[in-house]
Amino acid sequence: MSDSYYGRPYLKTPVWKPEIAGYFWIGGLAGASATLALAARLAGNRRLHRSALGAALAGSVISPALLIDDLGRPERFLNMLRVFKPTSPMSVGSWVLAGFGTTAGGAAVSEFTGVLRPLGRLAEVVAAALGPVLATYTGVLVADTAVPVWHESRRHLPLVFAGGAMASAGGLAAMTTPARRAGPARRLALLGAALELVSAADMERHLGELAAPYRDGDAARAARLGRGLTGAGAGVVALAGRRRLGAIVGGSLLLGGALAERIAVYRAGLQSAREAKP
């Protein structure tokens, strides 16, 4: 009993719901898709441009819904934009998401309806620049807490999330674009999968004993599933991605892998807060 106060947790367990892992996933997917969309347009690949822009649009609609649902007072969600606070990753992220949603949404609507094309193109450039920030700030968001497993992963989480975002955006675009035009999407998916797997493994190594939640329990199951799905997805995309079925199976596996990895990070944080020693 001399170890701590009756073995009771000295930290509060984060009150965030599992939806927050879904937000990290969708936000990353949307963010990397916006960058992919701009690059595809510059490269003259219209099919890929439209697929990726569609994904960015969908993500920019779903993301705020997931976030608002997670608030204790959802009707006050606009208070997020009451101030801009550089010391709060959530404040910075809210502004990034607001800017991204407006520009990605505007760019997609302009592209698909043909309205205000020049403004749409400008919005697309802004969304493409904000996208990678949207995909990675979430790593800062969870690292900037007292939760040991998150805080000690501060040099890794943004990279893990960047990898997952690239794998998801590439995987989804490979599924929704004719294979002939989807080469860059497949390559982005493979690069992302590699970054995700390597940085997640490095994160666990770096965490040492603190990595316990990733080795046993709920978080560990999600982490193993995520890495299995991502590895399998990368394999399928690499070997059979030029075929329709291969792209669909491989892309789905990558999307599932990125989601599972985020669920693992989320669950690891809750467990780490409960088990932390003062």
Binding site: M1, S2, D3, S4, Y5, Y6, R8, P9, Y10, K12, P14, V15, W16, G31, A32, T35, L36, A43, D70, L71, G72, R73, R76, N79, M80, R82, V83, K85, T87, S88, M90, S91, S94, P132, V133, A135, G139, V140, A143, D144, T145, A146, V147, H151, R154, R155, H156, P158, L159, A162, A165, M166, R180, G183, P184, A185, R187, L191, K277, P278
Partner: protein
């Protein structure tokens, strides 16, 4: 001319704080009761925890003072430690730093308070507090914690807990004076042979740059459920953003590479 006089009369109050001297705490819980009473905090139910005399458990959304009881076997007898825990009102307050709405703010007294009409229940402060102090009130959705009786301070009164404490275990006043008193008290205890006495959060050398609540403890902080080395997470914020910038760059490079790196 009256207006002129009035304007120049504005002076910021001194930073105030608690000095909680656990060596003279008798575990009466008058502080817990006075706090609940004054701040009209809801009950959390009656639960028997079987942790010595502690049936409160921990600080939380509806418990802003918590008396810890520790029974230690020593020299054939029992040493009974008691300490009234409270929000630390950190000099570098992580909850305040991460709050995205500005609901948490630093008052004119140097304390850290939640504005309940602004808080939207995002929960960030709860994950950021290195002491596990602030929490969400489930039925309400917003975050709550000790205000150091902001309303009483405004009216020139001491916080309810310090007023109710019958042994002066909880003292309140200008922070510099609390620090002086704490130093004098720990020297006095050392001189009378209580070598275990030590101060917690009483200067700027720790990871939260000192507390607005300081403590005199008789054992390691973790024995009382307090972190031995508390740290405001925002110390490393620059490092985190640098990593995010690197990661965002990796996405941009990856996308560019995906187009440049192949034929199809």
């Amino acid at each position: 001319m009256q207006n002129y006089e009035w304007v120049t009369d504005i002076t910021a109050p001194e930073r105030v704080g608690f000095f909680t001297d656990s060596s003279i705490c008798i575990g009466c819980k008058a502080c817990e009761v006075a706090c609940k009473e004054w701040n009209a905090l809801p009950t959390e139910g009656l639960e028997f925890l079987a942790l010595s005399y502690d049936n409160t458990g921990a600080l939380g959304s509806d418990t802003w003072r918590h008396v810890a009881f520790i029974e230690q076997k020593r020299d054939g007898g029992v040493r009974w430690l008691m300490n009234s825990d409270v929000c630390k009102h950190c000099t570098r307050a992580a909850c305040l730093d991460v709050c995205p709405t500005g609901a948490l703010f630093r008052t004119e007294f140097g304390t850290v308070v939640v504005q309940e009409d602004v808080c939207n229940g995002c929960g960030y402060c709860i994950a950021a507090c290195p002491f596990g102090v602030i929490d969400r009130r489930p039925a309400d959705g917003r975050a709550f914690k000790c205000t150091m009786c902001y309303d009483r301070l405004k009216g020139g009164l001491q916080p309810a807990c310090a007023t109710a404490c019958p042994t002066t275990s909880i003292q309140f006043g200008p922070l510099h004076e609390m620090r002086d008193r704490a130093r004098r008290r720990v020297e006095e205890l050392h001189a009378s042979g209580v070598d275990d006495a030590r101060l917690y959060l009483a200067d700027e050398s720790d990871g939260v740059e000192g507390g607005g609540s300081i403590f005199l403890l008789l054992d390691d902080p973790h024995v009382y459920g307090l972190p031995d080395q508390p740290e405001a997470t925002t110390h490393h914020l620059g490092e985190m953003w640098k990593t995010a910038a690197l990661a965002a760059g990796a996405i941009a490079l990856g996308v560019a590479g995906a187009f440049l790196g192949g034929r199809r």
